[in-house]
Every structure is written in C-alpha cells, then in structure tokens.
C-alpha cells in the first residue's frame, strides 16, 4: 500500500512511533549537510537556510534524519519523538 508522507506521518503519530523534525533558523549555518544526508526530508532556501520539507518523515527515513541531526555542525536540527 502506497500512501503519501503526510498520511504516513499522521498514522505514525497515532501509533506513537513517528518523529517530528524542525530546523532552528537562528542556528542554521547553511552547511547543507542535512540536505546531502537526506534530501527527501530537508531542503535549503535561497538564503541557504534549511527546513524540513517533511515535518513528519516516513519511518524509513528515521535513521537518516538522526544521522542528519548528528552531522549538522550547528546542532540546528531538533527531533521530537511523537
């Protein structure tokens, strides 16, 4: 069964095992590390600042999102476990 990310996120949220991703623009230094680690979840705007395009990423990206948070030199990525 193929469902879109947002729905997956909502289902995961209900099941209590999804994650919620945010990027603090005050801290972001536009290194692009998150985008190169998991382009399906992060993107950069014209000022270089990163955002999570998938706030509730699919389960399959979970480990990569944690890797991106670790790779971020500015510790700007925050992950909440739902």
């Amino acid at each position: 069964m193929d469902i879109d990310n947002r729905e997956t996120g909502q289902i995961q949220q209900k099941l209590g095992r999804g994650i919620r991703v945010r990027v603090d623009h005050g801290k972001c230094i536009a290194s692009g590390r998150c985008v190169s680690t998991v382009p399906e979840v992060f993107s950069q705007n014209e000022e270089g600042l990163a955002s999570a395009v998938e706030v509730h990423p699919k389960q399959c990206y979970r480990d990569l999102v944690y890797a991106a948070a670790d790779a971020c030199p500015a510790s700007a990525i925050m992950i909440d476990e739902d």
Binding site: C28, S36, G48, D70, A71, A74
Partner: protein, 392 residues
C-alpha cells in the same frame, strides 16, 4: 578610511576600530588595504553564500593554502565530493566516541607539569605549552602522524600563520619563512601520501587517498588539502583556548558559574566565540559581473574583508551585542563561517575547547592573569599568544 590590519593596535583591541567602521556603513572602503570591509552580519552571510561570485582567488587564503585546497574550491559538486570524504570523521558522535578520551589525556599530560610549577608559586605562560600544543597534537593524531613529528607540525603551521602578518610583502621575513615551512610541509606530506597509498590505515590522510574523490586528484592536490587541514586544525583552536582562559579570568562571576555547573561550559565558550572570534577578517575577491552590495557597486577583481568581529556584534542581529552575556539566547554567529565553506572542524574545535577548558578549570580554579596579555601583530587570525598566569 585607512585601517592597518597589521598594526599591533588592531590586534590588541579591534573593537573600537570596528565600531568606527560600522558607523560609516555596512561596507566601507579601506584605502590602505585597497579593499572593502563588511561589518554587517547579513551582508557577510550573503557574500559567504555567493561562493561563485565572491571567491578566495588572489586572496591571502589562496596564497596560504593553494588553489586546490578545499577552502578555495568554488565548484560546488567538486567541493562537496571532497568534503564528504572527511565529513563523517568530523561529525559530533564520531568525534566524541573516537577522540574524547584522547583529548582529555592530552590535556592532562600537557597541563600536569605546568600545574606543578603553578603550585610552587611560579608565574607560568600557558599559551605556548598548553593551548598551542593541544590542538596540534590532536589533529596530528587524526592524520596519523607519528608523535615525533608534532614539534615540526607546530613550527611549520606557526610559520604559515605568520604569512597573514606579512602584509603581502614577498620580501618580508614572515613571508619567506612561510614559504619555507609550506615547502617542508609539502615534502613531508607527499611522502606520507605515498606511504598511505601502499598501506592505508583509518587516519584522515588514508581516508582521502583511498577515496573516490582522490581518483581525479594529483598528489599535489591531495597534499594541499591535508596541509590546510593540519593548519586549520590547530592555529584557530589554540587561540580560542587561550582567549577562553583570558576571558574567564576577566569575568570571575562567569568562571564561578561554570565551575559550579560544568554543563554551562559549552554555552559560555560559544558566547566567547561570538563576542570575540578568532578569525577576525575573512578575505574574498569579487569575480565576474559587477554586483551591488550594501549600496556599493563592486566590480570584478575587488578585494573584500568580512569583518567577523564586527558582524558578530551587529546590533541588527544580536541584542546588546557588545555585552558578554552567557545567558543570551544564542543566535547563530559567524565565528565558524556560514554556507559552503563553513568550518569543517567546528565540532572538533567545540569538543576540544569543552574538554580542555573544563579540565583546566578543574585543576586551576583559582588562576589569575599575572602579566601582560600579548596578541602579537596578528589580527586576521587573532588571539592571546602570551598568557602568564599564577594561582590566586
């Protein structure tokens, strides 16, 4: 305006001059240096993001590191491919796991003999034998250098740093010393590169030598990148360490606060980096079509200095910017750069600073400054280079 970047005055205390520049505008011509000075945080960020229009060509950066060093590469795919080789080694979890205990052991070993002398009532200079050596030893270990090479690494990279004080004069003794040091570095590193190719280990030179990126690189290009890494990995951090010791001595309430609660240390160190960064002026040169910046028209081939110390105190970004405030809600500063060429080693620098200063405060909680703090005539990469202390 005429501002001499090579004067002792600006190295000792750049902030009055930086505020004078800011008062004249976000981008101001320096007739003495024949370059623009940018004091605005927003403009500095814009320039750092525009890496193909604002390059390191013909700047002190290119002179020091060479055309093929990653800091000078403006082709993004090529840059990213090379940076990816070392990215994992420089991320927080890898560093904490692999290097944390080694950094602490190194701090203990370097401080122990100084502690003894301090306890005996002596005044001890802590830059050269403690702050200076620690990051050099750590980066040398990461590159898989034998212990007996550490002394040469410190000497060579110190001589390279002097180039930033030579004011572009090819006859200046600092310039000549730097060229000699770079040649010695190059020769040694090229031997190491050939050696690792035959028997790669898990050090940073081996990681690069066996990488996909290295397949299209000459030994000279690989060498320039290893040399940049060695240099960048120790000169700046050494000055962050010595500056932290000076700032904490001058703010005894902050020091007490950190000693009572060591978990506050990283935030304090970060505020030191914002308030008084070690890279004070970051060079660029414009390339290509003219561009408007802060109300000024810049033409091809013009030199620019990003005044990081000024940008980090830009009132448009930071509240009460001149105030050293460890409780402030930290908004990103430019002490480690921004965008494509942001500092690869910033997580390493933070880990080294937290472990080293933490250990120093534990062992010498009552230290006091005991003589004149000297910044030499080093403004571009700035920090106290003579730090005499005594136990209070």
């Amino acid at each position: 305006m005429n501002v001499d970047f090579f004067s002792r005055e600006i190295a000792n205390d750049p902030y009055p001059i930086l505020e004078e520049i800011r008062a004249r505008g976000p981008i101001v011509w320096n007739d003495l240096m024949k370059s623009w000075m940018v004091t605005s945080d927003a403009l500095c960020r814009k320039i750092m993001l525009g890496f193909s229009k604002f390059t390191l060509e013909n700047t002190i950066g290119e002179q020091m590191f060479g055309l093929d060093a990653i800091i000078c590469i403006k082709d993004k795919p090529r840059h990213d491919k090379l940076r990816a080789v070392w990215a994992v080694a420089f991320q927080r979890s890898t560093l904490e796991r692999r290097l944390g205990p080694m950094i602490l052991a190194c701090a203990e070993r370097l401080l122990a003999p100084l502690e003894e002398r301090l306890r005996a009532g002596e005044v001890v200079e802590v830059f050269r034998k403690f702050c200076r050596d620690l990051p050099a030893y750590v980066i040398a270990e990461m590159l898989g250098m034998p212990a007996d090479m550490r002394k040469s690494i410190v000497e060579w990279s110190d001589a390279m740093a002097e180039e930033a004080s030579a004011a572009g004069d090819p006859l200046a003794h600092q310039y000549i010393a730097s060229q000699n040091a770079k040649a010695a570095f190059a020769q040694y590193l090229e031997e190491q590169i050939r050696d690792r190719r035959g028997r790669p280990g898990d050090d940073l030179i081996s990681q690069l030598v066996i990488s996909e990126a290295a397949k299209t690189m000459t030994d000279g290009e690989i060498m320039q990148n290893c040399r940049q890494l060695l240099f960048a990995g120790n000169e700046t951090t050494a000055r962050w360490l010595s500056n932290s010791i000076v700032v904490l001595a001058r703010h005894p309430d902050v020091r007490r606060h950190v000693i009572e609660d060591p978990s506050r240390l990283p935030a304090v160190l970060e505020e030191i980096m914002r308030w008084d960064p070690n890279v004070q002026a970051d060079p660029r040169m414009t390339k290509g079509e003219s561009i408007e910046l802060g109300g000024v028209e810049l033409h091809d081939g013009q030199h620019i200095y990003l005044m990081i110390g000024a940008a980090n105190r830009d009132p448009a970004r930071h509240e009460r910017p001149a105030e050293f405030d460890i409780h402030r809600q930290q908004k990103g500063h430019l002490g480690f750069g921004f965008g494509l060429h942001n500092c690869l080693g910033q997580s390493l620098a933070r880990l080294e600073a937290a472990i080293t200063i933490g250990h120093f405060l534990k062992k010498c909680p009552t230290y006091e400054l005991a003589g004149e703090i000297d910044y030499a005539a080093s403004f571009l990469v700035r920090g106290p280079q003579t730090v005499p202390i005594a136990l209070g």
